[in-house]
Subunit: 169 residues, 2 copies
Amino acid sequence: MASYTEILLRAALKKHGFRLTPQRETILNIFQTLPKGKHLSAEDLYELVQRQGEVISLATIYRTVKLMSQMGILRELELAEGHKHYEINQLSPPHHHLVCVRCHQTIEFVNDLVLEVGQKQANSASYDLLDCQLTIHAICPEALQEGWPSSLSEDWQCPRSGLTGDSHH
Amino acid sequence: MASYTEILLRAALKKHGFRLTPQRETILNIFQTLPKGKHLSAEDLYELVQRQGEVISLATIYRTVKLMSQMGILRELELAEGHKHYEINQLSPPHHHLVCVRCHQTIEFVNDLVLEVGQKQANSASYDLLDCQLTIHAICPEALQEGWPSSLSEDWQCPRSGLTGDSHH
DNA sequence: TTCATTGCAAAGACTTTGCACTTGC
DNA sequence: GCAAGTGCAAAGTCTTTGCAATGAA
């Protein structure tokens, strides 16, 4: 599963009776040109579309990422920000996430074992694997040192913030 | 990490300056007496509390499961139902989930490799591991056969429904 | 007594949906 | 042409929060 050209996307959609619309093309394009490891929320995507001069309604954004996730084109990530994030589903190799429950900073990593486990598990139940995500919840050293979770103040700024690909507000 | 008695819970809370309240005890109790592998949404928990004659406000339910998850007492699961589920965090061994994106039926499984990977990853970043979850998104044989996702009707009932521990409405 | 915790109700964040219009095929 | 797709605005669902009252230590 390399990269979805318009042709491939059309084929994938057609296979299920869906249509290729400019909106769907635009959205797929954005995900394809996204820096590796970056993931977007619906809102992020909405803004990115606007920034390149087009407009797609939020409703369509939601409908599209949902559809594409269900088709296996996108991965739906549930990190710790309270809303979903999406990225291109590159099955080779998918990366996983280590998330600090305190500051939400996310470290991505790759591990082939995980996919093997997932594939094996899906196969053994005769399921068709779409995606496979290992999410590790942990506390980062900075938060630990700060004595977390005794101080629940939501305003503490982890010095780690801004270092990695954390794309929420 | 065997089972939280009142004593242990108090100690864990005290360590962070939190208090032991009847509500917190009740909630922990419910999770402890829950059948293995069963997980609850906030709403589920709210109803279970009522069914045993007590009343805890939804706000407190939410605050409590959040706190306990952040303390590592509960695991916060993000499956495919659009809301979070919680269960006791038994680090030995944590189980993982294979979820059908179509019918939301969930198969649980245990795999030691996953925890090893998680632990190793957390350690290498000097994080303190709280939880480690592998979530596999896939399509169940029944849905595949039904031609999913070409038929997006939300009313299709997977014959698999009701077989396993799927606790949403 | 003191400060964490609770309950209530209101607010918030995110997502979905009904409907009329548009458009791919 | 017709069913699928879109945009809009309204409605939902789940979750959080302000505040006064309560209660654990």
